[in-house]
C-alpha cells in the first residue's frame, strides 16, 4: 500500500494517453455533432484515427505499472490493446456504412463506442479492482445506450432494456464480490490479494466466485448468457461487432489476473471443477441451441456462448500456456467473429427486420466477397485448419491436454463437431440454395469491404503463420505478474 500521495507525472501521462485520446476523440465527436453536423462523414475516420492513435501511444508507452500500481503497461496489455483496438477498428468500419444506411450516422454512436472502448481498455490494463469496476461500468453504460440507440426500432429499445436490467443485476454481483476481496485483502489492489492465506478463505472464494459470475456474464458464459441472444439481435450490428468480441477478451483477462493473484499455484479443485462445469455447460448449451436458431445474429450469439465455453477451458487449465492460448484465441476470435458480424452487416440491408438465415440464400453468388468472407469466418469459428480459428482452438486444447483435462478436451471437440452443424448450415444456405429474389445487391461499400478484407486476411495470416503471435503471447504470459513458481 502506498503511503505517500501519488503525483501525476510524465510516466502516468504516457501510460494514460491512450485512454485520453479515446475519451477526447469522443468529446470531439459530440462537439462536432452538435456544432458541425456537416462533418459527419468524417466521424468514422476520426474514430479510426483515435483508435489507431491510442493504440500507437499504448505501444509506445513505457512498460511497468503506473498510477501507484493500478495501471499496467506490458507486452500483454499491448497485445490486448491490439486485440481490442482491432475490434474497435472493425466495428467502426462496419458502422460507417451501416449508420449511413439507417440514417443514424451521428457522433454519439462513435463517441459511445470510443468511451466503451476506454472502459474495455481499462479492463485489460487495470491492476486494481476499482479501476476494473469503473472500466466495466463505463463499458456497460456505453453499450446499454448503444443497444437501445435505434429508438425507432422496438427491438433495439428492448435490447437496451434487457441489456440494462441484466447488466445492472450482474454488476451488483460483481460489486458484491469486490467487497469481499477488499474486505479480506484490505485493499482494492490486485497485488494485495496475493497475501498468504487468502486462497483458503471462504469469503475470498465467494468474492472470486461473484467475479467469475459477473465477468462470466460479460463473456456470456452459460448460465449467465441469457441476455446475449436477445441483445445481439436487437442491437445495431456494428455495436454487436464490438461487444461480442473485445469485452469478452478483456473479461477473461481480468479473471485471469484476479485468480492468479489469489491462487498463484493453481486453482483449488472445487474451483477448477466449477469452471469446468461452466465451460461444459456453456459449450453444450451454446452449440445445441445454436442449431435451432433461425436468426443469424442470435445464432452467432449462441455460437459466442459456446466459444466462451472453450475459453473457459483455458481458465480451467490455468497456466502460462493457457493464458497465451487465450490471447491467441481472441485474436482468432476477433478475425472470425467480428468478420462474421461485419458480413452480416453487409449482407442484410434492412435493419428494421430480423436477420433470418434464409435470407442469405444464394448470396454466395450474388455477393461473392461478403459471403465468401462470412463462410471463411464460419469455417474459422468451426476450427477448420489453415484458419485462425483452428489456431485458437489448437492452443486452447493443447493447454487442456497438457494439464490433463482430457475429459474436458473431449467434450470440447465433440462440441465443436456439433457446432460445425450450424456453421455449415449458413454456408450451405449461402452457396447451395438459390436466391429468393432477383434483386441485385448494391455495391459493397469501401468501408465494409475493408473490414471484411481485413478479417479475411487476418484469418489466413493467423491460420498459416501463427508463430509470431504465439511467441509474443507466450512472452507476455511469461511476464504475467502473479503466477507462482
Amino acid at each position: 500500500m502506498t503511503s505517500g500521495l501519488l503525483q501525476f507525472g510524465p510516466e502516468e501521462l504516457a501510460a494514460i494517453t491512450p485512454e485520453i485520446i479515446l475519451s477526447a476523440a469522443g468529446c470531439l465527436l459530440i462537439l462536432l455533432e452538435a456544432f458541425a453536423p456537416r462533418s459527419r462523414s468524417w466521424f468514422a475516420t476520426i474514430s479510426l484515427a483515435a483508435v489507431a492513435g491510442s493504440l500507437m501511444m499504448l505501444l509506445k508507452a513505457p512498460a511497468g505499472a503506473s498510477f501507484g500500481g493500478r495501471l499496467e503497461t506490458s507486452t500483454l496489455t499491448s497485445l490486448m490493446g491490439m486485440f481490442i483496438g482491432g475490434t474497435a477498428a472493425i466495428a467502426i468500419l462496419v458502422a460507417k456504412n451501416y449508420l449511413r444506411r439507417t440514417g443514424e450516422e451521428r457522433g454519439e454512436f462513435y463517441a459511445l463506442l470510443l468511451w466503451g472502448h476506454v472502459g474495455v481498455s481499462l479492463l485489460t490494463r487495470g491492476l486494481d479492482l476499482l479501476v476494473i469496476f469503473v472500466g466495466l461500468e463505463l463499458l456497460s453504460l456505453s453499450f446499454y445506450v448503444l443497444a437501445g440507440i435505434f429508438r425507432t426500432i422496438p427491438a433495439s429499445s428492448e435490447a437496451g432494456l434487457k441489456y440494462f436490467l441484466t447488466g445492472a443485476f450482474g454488476s451488483a454481483f460483481t460489486l458484491y464480490g469486490i467487497v469481499f476481496l477488499f474486505a479480506k485483502s484490505g485493499s482494492v489492489r490486485l497485488s494485495a490479494l496475493s497475501q498468504v492465506g487468502l486462497a483458503h478463505d471462504p469469503l475470498v472464494i465467494f468474492g472470486l466466485l461473484l467475479l467469475l459470475v459477473g465477468f462470466g456474464f460479460k463473456m456470456s458464459v452459460a448460465p449467465f448468457h441469457a441476455w446475449a441472444p436477445d441483445v445481439y439481435q436487437g442491437m445495431p450490428t456494428p455495436a454487436v461487432t464490438y461487444l461480442s468480441v473485445a469485452p469478452k477478451g478483456a473479461s477473461i483477462l481480468v479473471l485471469y489476473r484476479v485468480f492468479t493473484a489469489v491462487f498463484q499455484g493453481g486453482l483449488p479443485d472445487r474451483f477448477r471443477l466449477a469452471v469446468v462445469a461452466l465451460a461444459i455447460l456453456s459449450m453444450t448449451l451454446g452449440n445445441v441451441v445454436a442449431l435451432a436458431q433461425r436468426d443469424i445474429k442470435r445464432l452467432l450469439a449462441y455460437s459466442g456462448i459456446a466459444q466462451m465455453g472453450y475459453v473457459l477451458i483455458a481458465l480451467a487449465a490455468f497456466g502460462r500456456d493457457a493464458l497465451a492460448a487465450v490471447v491467441v484465441f481472441f485474436f482468432a476470435y476477433l478475425a472470425s467473429n467480428a468478420g462474421a458480424f461485419a458480413a452480416v452487416a453487409a449482407l442484410f440491408r434492412d435493419e428494421t427486420k430480423p436477420h433470418p438465415i434464409g435470407l442469405l440464400a444464394g448470396e454466395g453468388r450474388r455477393s461473392p466477397f461478403a459471403a465468401g468472407v462470412l463462410a471463411l469466418c464460419l469455417f474459422s469459428l468451426a476450427g477448420i485448419p489453415a484458419t485462425a480459428g483452428f489456431i485458437g482452438k489448437f492452443f486452447l486444447f493443447k493447454a487442456a491436454v497438457d494439464r490433463g483435462l482430457y475429459a474436458l478436451a473431449i467434450i470440447g471437440v465433440v462440441n465443436s463437431l456439433v457446432s460445425i452443424g450450424y456453421y455449415l448450415k449458413i454456408v450451405y444456405i449461402m452457396y447451395m440454395r438459390d436466391p429468393i429474389d432477383d434483386e441485385r445487391p448494391p455495391r459493397l461499400p469501401l468501408s465494409d469491404g475493408l473490414a471484411l478484407g481485413l478479417c479475411g486476411i487476418l484469418i489466413f495470416a493467423l491460420g498459416i503463420f501463427p508463430s509470431k503471435l504465439w511467441e509474443l503471447a507466450r512472452g507476455a504470459a511469461d511476464s504475467f505478474p502473479f503466477f507462482g513458481p
Binding site: L112, V131, L138, L141, R151
Partner: protein, 173 residues
C-alpha cells in the same frame, strides 16, 4: 466505549428500518410507493453510515441517492404515468416464483453462513473515528485514486450523452 451500547442500538435500529423499507419497496405493487419506501430506506442507511464513521458517504447518500436518483425515478414514473403492476393472464409465473423463492432461501442461508465467518477474520483497524475526516478522503481521490476518478468522469459523460441520446424525442434525421 464501555457501558450501554448506544451506537449499536442506533445502528441496528437504522438497519432494521432500512431492511424493512427495502422489503416494503419489494412487496408494493405501485412503483411510486416503492420509490417512496426506498427513500426512507436510503435515509436510514445514511444514518448507518454516520454510525460507521462515514459522514461524507452519509451525505452523498442523502444528496445523490435520496435527492437525485430517487427523484429522477419519481419524475420518470410521473412522466410515463405508470400505474401499479396489474395482474394479467400472463403475469402469474408460479415456476419463476417458486424457483426464485427456493434459490433465495438457499442464497440467504449460504450468505449468512459465510458472513458469520467473515466478521471475525479481519485485523482490527488503527484509524478509528479519524476515518470520518473528509479532507484526507478528498486528497486520496485526487491522488491515489486519480485514475478511477478520471475514468469516472468519462463514465459520467458517457451516461450524460447516453441518456440524452436515448431520451431525445425527435426521430433521427
Amino acid at each position: 466505549m464501555a457501558g450501554f451500547p448506544i451506537d449499536r442500538i442506533v445502528f441496528d435500529l437504522a438497519t432494521a428500518v432500512a431492511v424493512l423499507f427495502a422489503g416494503v419497496m419489494v412487496v408494493h405493487h405501485h412503483p411510486v410507493k416503492s420509490v417512496l419506501a426506498l427513500v426512507v430506506g436510503f435515509f436510514a442507511l445514511a444514518v448507518c453510515y454516520v454510525m460507521l464513521w462515514a459522514p461524507f458517504i452519509a451525505a452523498i447518500q442523502v444528496i445523490v441517492y435520496g435527492g437525485a436518483i430517487l427523484v429522477l425515478f419519481l419524475f420518470v414514473l410521473m412522466l410515463l404515468n405508470v400505474g401499479s403492476e396489474t395482474r394479467s393472464a400472463g403475469s402469474r409465473r408460479p415456476v419463476q416464483t417458486l424457483l426464485s423463492g427456493a434459490a433465495l432461501l438457499l442464497f440467504a442461508g449460504l450468505l449468512l453462513g459465510l458472513l458469520r465467518h467473515g466478521g471475525s477474520a479481519i485485523a482490527n483497524g488503527s484509524q478509528g473515528p479519524a476515518a470520518a475526516e473528509i479532507a484526507p478522503l478528498a486528497r486520496l481521490l485526487y491522488s491515489d485514486y486519480l485514475l478511477p476518478f478520471e475514468a469516472l468522469s468519462v463514465l459520467l459523460l458517457a451516461a450524460l450523452v447516453g441518456a440524452f441520446v436515448l431520451a431525445r424525442r425527435e426521430a433521427g434525421p
